[in-house]
């Protein structure tokens, strides 16, 4: 019958995964640049599978903030065991969903700025947001956020949407830190310089590399990628006088996971050297434990912010909606 063959075709595509499931599968929801070929995901999957006698499966979503929505949409029945790729700014909102379980890892020794103390989430890397530019295109980059806001409108910048992207949210909070209640006015001023607001970091960075704009919101560690992976010294991050906003990326275990011991094991693995060694040249961020060989050559030339700026997760959870609405109002004019 025609109908039957149609159904067969439709099912064939996803029936493949249903076979051969003797080994337990740990499902990790993360953002897409983590699982990309050039990201750390592939190597980390191999390392973990080598020791756990299990299969590690990634489900990739565009960016960190979209990750949280996805988990909330799927609710208690989610197939995810681990969510990897939220950050401290989303942590309180994530905890409030009640979908996450406490971890059992001792985090006192972790080397993140300001130390670590959270029952539900564990950090897996950190970095500082910064505007990255191509040296040959921009002779005198802005040296502060104020200068960026006041600067030439024809020098365009690429930023991300704070509702989908963790760097986008980072910039929103950075502006808040620096401008306080004047932030909406500062955004209104900055608006003229914004070429486009992308949904994810990779989209904005891709446009930047194509030469669509001279400045892009990224990380202080981004130039290390070009230096180490491409052997190019062409890119730099602009050091801002006010300090740079700190991002700590975190992972957590779902309360509804049917693989609790395996999920715990993954979290312990995550803060061990076998995971962390892939962070500097995979995710291009700082690891949360000191690596035995130190950081790879090329990291020493990066700018190190004089001040690390941050809000507490609770403060962000309380104000996020209001600040995003202000941002929307300022940018949709």
């Amino acid at each position: 019958m025609l109908v039957r063959s149609l159904i067969t075709i439709a099912l064939a595509a996803f029936a493949v995964q249903a076979v051969a499931q003797e080994r337990p599968t740990l499902t990790v929801y993360t953002y897409s640049s983590f699982t990309a070929e050039w990201g750390p995901g592939v190597a980390i999957k191999e390392s973990f599978e080598a020791e756990c006698d299990c299969t590690l499966e990634y489900v990739a979503v565009d960016d960190g903030a979209a990750l949280l929505s996805r988990i909330r949409l799927e609710g208690a029945n989610s197939k995810a065991d681990i969510v990897l790729g939220l950050d401290t700014n989303l942590m309180a909102a994530a905890t409030q969903t009640g979908l996450f379980a406490r971890h059992s890892v001792d985090s006192a020794e972790l080397a993140v700025p300001g130390g670590w103390d959270d029952d539900f989430f564990l950090p897996f890397d950190y970095g500082y947001f910064a505007f990255v530019y191509k040296k040959s295109e921009l002779a005198d980059p802005p040296s502060s956020l104020v200068e960026l806001v006041e600067g030439r409108a024809d020098q365009k910048i690429l930023i991300q949407d704070p509702r989908t992207s963790t760097p986008g949210l980072g910039l929103l909070l950075w502006m808040r830190k620096v401008f306080g209640d004047e932030a909406p006015a500062a955004w209104a001023k900055l608006r003229g310089r914004v070429l486009t607001v992308t949904k994810s970091w990779s989209e904005a960075y891709g446009l930047f590399l194509e030469g669509e704009a001279p400045l892009v919101l990224s990380y202080t560690t981004s130039p290390a990628y070009h230096r180490i992976a491409e052997g190019s010294d062409a890119y730099a991050a602009a050091a801002f006088d006010e300090g740079h906003y700190l991002q700590i990326e975190v992972a957590g275990k779902l309360a509804g996971s049917t693989n609790q011991p395996l999920a715990d094991r993954f979290l312990r693995f995550m803060v061990s050297e076998r995971f962390q060694q892939h962070i500097p040249t995979g995710n291009w961020m700082y690891p949360v434990i000191p690596l035995p060989d130190g950081l790879p050559a090329g990291f020493e030339s990066l700018i190190v912010p004089a001040r690390a700026l941050r809000f507490t997760p609770e403060e962000v959870a309380r104000q996020r909606k209001r600040w995003i609405d202000e941002w929307l109002a300022a940018l949709s004019r």
Binding site: L2, I9, G75, N77, R163, D325, S332
Partner: protein, 537 residues
């Protein structure tokens, strides 16, 4: 199928059942959404500055898009109808049918390749020493894309109006010595006045609810439509209450637009006369001829360029490595399966509705009720697919593994999206069959399967084939619900393309776009040829 032996009531039952099911699904989706919502704040709809701008922008861009598309389509369609001798006219008409079948996201890819910062136009401008513009993000980009999709559609919809003018009219016009101005006033305008509101209304609705174009080319909060705001509420903030309210708001606006169109003019029944050469007296001299040719060529070029750009970019990309990836083939198979299922479902559901509506129209003289039924089948034009999908997702959540079920939800939603087209394509021929053959069937005692096989199938093959082909192509290219729920195992080809674009792997994206384009075209041609058979000619 229904026969004489069965009570006529049964002819209505199938259609009413399908409509009731549709209504129940939509209602259930909304209820699920609102019950699961953490908070519902209707006052935001009029208090929130950003939302007010979103509504204003939705209307503004849709109005501009309609004005441009239909405004440009009028002279192009007129030129096409005047110049029967235009070389490759048949092919040209086929070409103008392409944008309907080309997946939005593929077309956007092509449009960026032509009009983008490093696109064809800018390179040509640069080579000629003209200033290089950067204008693709925001309103301009959206307008370019909407004109790409809707100008050809409008031309195809307007053309029959001219073709319905019989030869006698032209001979009469010639005898009376009518000039161009008179022809426009006394012959063309009265016809267009019936058709233009319909066409404009359709184009306006399509642009008003436009999703993928605005999502990819909008470039920030300043250029957001209600449909995109719904996506953002769902995807970014998981604000189910706001998504539901926005959906109701959009539903309200669309219902108003539909009502307005119905008020201005009822569906005109223009039947194009094939093979009639338009011997109009005002074909004029070289100037008019050159202008007509230029217009048609320009329209063809603007349709063709982005598609050529997709093909070129795809062919120069890493073809072998993309075709070597299992991911590509898995997505392709899934898209194919979804397309075939949803197309069959769409045609079956639409046919059930049409069986009932033609019964109402022809045998019971209930024109209004018949039209209402057919409008009901086009429900999806006013209900955002994303809201429907999310509602169903939440309904299914406690019962099944929703990730694995995502394709089933997509099949259902895509089938709904195809139904308005099927109703348009199948409705008129089905009504005609009832008008012409019902009595004959009754007197011969022909009913049920026999009636379908002997009477209906031979006459309906062609429109059924076209409907299936169109629905399959539309479904294959759709990036809507799957953008919300797709996972590694349930990545369709458009979602794969979107992911590669978002990760800025442009080379791979180019090849994927070409594969998707070819799949759509192949599906369309193969299904239409094989189902419609010789009846096509």
């Amino acid at each position: 199928m229904v026969g004489r032996a069965e009570p006529l009531r049964q002819r209505l039952a199938s259609g009413i059942a399908v409509l009731a099911l549709l209504a129940a699904l939509v209602a259930a989706a909304f209820v699920a959404l609102f019950t699961a919502a953490a908070q519902i704040e209707p006052r935001l709809l009029w208090e929130d500055v950003h939302l007010r701008r979103v509504v204003a922008f939705s209307f503004w861009q849709a109005s501009l898009s309609t004005l441009l598309s239909v405004g440009l389509a009028l002279p192009v369609a007129r030129a096409l109808s005047r110049r029967h001798e235009f070389p490759g006219r048949e092919w040209l008409l086929k070409l103008l049918g392409l944008p309907l079948v080309v997946p939005t996201i593929v077309a956007v890819f092509g449009i960026v390749a032509v009009y983008g910062q490093s696109g064809l136009l800018n390179r040509v401008a640069g080579a000629l020493g003209l200033p290089v513009g950067q204008y693709l993000y925001g309103l301009t980009g959206i307008l370019i894309a909407h004109v790409f999709f809707n100008l050809p559609l409008a031309v195809r919809l307007l053309l029959p109006a001219w073709q319905s003018i019989p030869g006698e009219t032209w001979r009469l016009a010639a005898q009376l010595g009518m000039e161009s101005g008179h022809i426009v006033k006394h012959i063309e305008w009265p016809l267009l006045r019936q058709v233009v509101p319909q066409v404009s209304g359709l184009v306006f609705m399509l642009c008003f609810t436009s999703f993928a174009v605005v999502l990819t080319l909008g470039g920030g909060p300043a250029a957001t439509t209600i449909e995109v705001a719904i996506y953002q509420a769902l995807r970014y903030e998981f604000d189910l209450g706001q998504a539901g309210l926005l959906a109701l708001l959009q539903l309200l606006f669309c219902a108003l637009i539909v009502a307005l169109i119905q008020l201005v003019g009822r569906t005109p029944h223009v039947e194009p006369l094939t093979g009639v050469r338009q011997l109009r007296p005002d074909l004029g001299g070289r100037g008019a001829r050159a202008a007509d040719y230029a217009l048609v060529a320009l329209a063809a070029l603007s349709t063709l360029l982005p598609i050529i750009a997709v093909v070129m970019a795809g062919l120069t990309g890493p073809v072998l490595s993309v075709l070597g990836e299992w991911q590509t083939w898995r997505s392709l198979l899934l898209s194919l399966g979804i397309a075939l299922c949803s197309a069959s479902l769409a045609v079956a559901a639409a046919a059930a509705i049409l069986v009932a509506s033609r019964e109402l129209r022809v045998n019971r003289y209930r024109d209004r009720s018949a039209e209402a039924m057919e409008l009901g089948g086009s429900l999806i034009l006013v209900v955002p697919p994303l809201v429907l999908g999310t509602g169903l997702f939440i309904l299914l959540r406690p019962v099944v593994d929703v990730l694995a079920w995502a394709p089933v939800v997509v099949i259902g939603v895509n089938a709904l999206m195809g139904m308005p087209y099927v109703i348009r394509l199948l409705g008129p021929p089905m009504t005609r069959i009832t008008q012409r053959h019902d009595r004959l069937c009754a007197s011969l005692g022909l009913g049920g399967w026999a009636r379908f096989r002997i009477i209906e199938w031979p006459l309906l093959r062609a429109p059924i084939g076209l409907s299936l082909a169109l629905c399959a192509a539309l479904s294959t290219g759709d990036l809507g619900v799957i953008a919300l729920f797709g996972s590694q195992q349930t990545t369709t080809l458009p979602l794969l393309l979107y992911q590669r674009l978002a990760a800025y792997r442009m080379d791979e994206a180019a090849v994927t776009a070409l594969v998707l384009l070819l799949l759509c075209l192949a599906l369309f041609v193969v299904i239409e040829r094989s189902v419609a058979g010789r009846a096509r000619a």
